[in-house]
Amino acid sequence: MAEEQKEAKPKKRTTATKAAASIGPLVKEFITGTLQAKAEGKQKVAYTFIVCHHEEIFRALDVVPVWTENFAGICGAKRDAERFLQRAESLGLSRSLCTYALCGIGFDQWREELGQMPPDAPWGGQVRPDFMISSGQILCDPRSKWYQASQQFMPDVPIYNIDLPYPLYQVNRDHREVLGYYHQYIVKQLRGLVAFLEEQTKKKMDYDRLRELVGLSDRTWNLIEETYDLRKAVPCPMGTGDAMNTMVPINFMMATQKAYDFFVDLKKELEEKIARGEGEVENEKYRLMWGGGLPAWYALNDFNYFNSKGASFPAETTYRMVAPLHEMDLPETKDPIEHLAWRWLGYWTFWYDRARKRPGSEPDVERLINRIEEYKIDGVVMHEAFSCRTWHVGLIWQLHQLSKIYKPIPVYVIGKDGKKEKGYRELPSLVLESDIIDITSYSEVDTRNKIDAFVETLESIRTSRAA
């Protein structure tokens, strides 16, 4: 059997906001909550995935979600994923599959083999579910296979799969032509989920309660937008390092009053920091955007390293899984299920119209350009996590397209005739390479050497900018 050794604990990361610092205990609390719910047996506990717009349905039927990606991320952040990855490998699964999935499968197999939690399971461990809801294949392909693999070790636990597609971008075709068909399909999928959960919980859906929860989520979406917009301030009061914490209420606590209140507090904190002129870094020299890729959870300290060089991260694309609802023009409906489906489609097609207006652009590239301009960004950092195919598809392509169609930096270059010429260049970019939780793919020395070189590049561009 695989070696079952834990790795050295990482140095604790410093956060810029109190709100971000409060996330660790919050996550621990809801992991404990899942264990408690299972022990008490009053509520059903379900494995599921983030970004499926189905939290409201879960909560309306008092189903406790166990976010399996989140648990794998916790193992990664605690540098305690390797023993679960090795277990999955010993089952014949390749490390080049999603390491979140491998970690979860390895953990499940071990827990089922022991009939109890593996020794020193992070924060008490991942609870045995009553059922599993897989979903979101268009977003992330390993998702449905993950639970099928886990089911091999718990054959009594049923899986229900929901399919949530959205029309893919076509430059010459208005997605609204087919949006209605997608909407009907998603509504049916969500109604199927309701029926499955009703059967499992022996409860009937209370649609008034569901409507309230959907309304609460919508208000939280708007509040998140308003809160994150505050990061446009110079100096930036909160960076991506913190946002990798504050993604928790967005992605794991949606449709709860606690998530809403969290952002009320964060917004207030940011407003106070801005009033005091207090930035994420003391002397902000460079403003960077985390332009894509899930982070290396065991190496979030690297954000502090960027900060130590005067680099702040006012914006990111990763985990900001909301968009301004008032700009979506969602059709009016009193049916909360229909609204969830419209919101899903509105979110995923949000950048389509904007992208069509800029030749050579594409929704993800358009989103990058928007953030670069709105947040006054000097450079883009991306992370290629080798086991995450979802983000790999198009990350480098996005950078290439960005550099082709968007050249905001005026510079003088030496022309072929040896004379100085004024031209425009793309924003500098840095691609970090490792993995979400597989620490064997990571080298701190190499990563920091890359960061050093990137910061020197930013400085070089700043000094060579043409007037």
Binding site: I396, V411, V413, I461
Partner: protein
């Protein structure tokens, strides 16, 4: 009269350049060994000896490279990316893309002709695609590293390597030798595989001509030819390509003096 040093402590080889007001007064290369501090001292001594100067004559030292933080007498540490851009632009100002073949990494950077970097990319943690593979293969074939290039040019029937991984390449080379494959054909195949990886890395960043190759790997004429073949255009190679980062470091040291003055 002022004198500056540029010292590049690489993972395999370390290099140094001493500049006076009129240009280079000397350069030196040696194996990095296991003690980078000692190696840096040795390079400084040698450079001072070549220029017939003492430590007190040196106005500024800039260190770069893998072991740069251990050059304790350096006034400043700069990343090798920045030094490479500065060095290559000083010799070949038309270059917009520089490919550095080092022992641990291959690096590709885009520059503007003034020595300013606009973007860059490094090969990953794995040594595949770096110059390390050339050393590995030299040991297997029992030839000197600096003979590899010339030897590969004699190839009549290039072997197709199935891997770019340094470890797998060693295994594959040994198995091919057991099939009595000629050394030159094996080397030509290895150059091709390495060139393909280098090209792939360069394309990820985006290539703008002119293109130069620098670093220790750029002394390998067979590798240069293979990269030219794959890319389909000329590749510029400055004199003493392995010294470019050290030269860039020395130029940065001199620029700092000018700014201070």
């Amino acid at each position: 009269m002022s004198f500056v040093l540029g010292i590049d402590i690489g993972s395999a080889q370390s290099k140094g350049v001493i500049l006076g007001d009129q240009g280079s007064l000397g350069s030196f290369e040696c194996a990095s060994g296991g003690d980078f501090k000692l190696t840096a001292e040795k390079i400084r001594e040698e450079l001072l000896s070549q220029a017939e100067r003492s430590v007190d004559d040196i106005s500024r030292t800039v260190a770069t490279g893998y072991g740069s933080k251990l050059v304790i007498f350096a006034d400043e540490i700069k990343s090798d990316i920045v030094c490479l851009a500065k060095g290559v632009s000083s010799l070949l100002p038309s270059v917009r893309t520089a490919i550095d073949i080092g022992d641990l990494y291959t690096k590709v950077l885009r520059t503007d002709g003034h020595g300013n970097v606009h973007s860059f990319i490094l090969s990953g943690k794995c040594a595949g695609g770096s110059g390390r593979i050339l050393q590995v293969i030299a040991r297997v074939l029992q030839v000197k590293v600096d003979e590899i290039g010339e030897l590969s040019l004699k190839s009549k029937k290039r072997v197709e390597f199935n891997t770019g991984c340094a470890v797998f390449a060693e295994t594959e080379a040994i198995s091919r030798l057991s099939q009595e494959v000629a050394k030159e054909d094996l080397l030509a195949g290895l150059h091709r595989a390495l060139a393909a990886q280098i090209n792939s890395l360069a394309e990820r960043l985006g290539v703008e001509q002119d293109v130069a190759m620098v670093g220790g790997g750029a002394r390998d004429i067979g590798l240069i030819r293979a990269v030219k073949e794959i890319r389909g255009h000329d590749i510029l190679v400055p004199p003493h390509p392995h010294m470019i980062a050290a030269l860039g470091a020395a130029l940065i040291a001199r620029e700092s003096l000018t700014i201070q003055d």
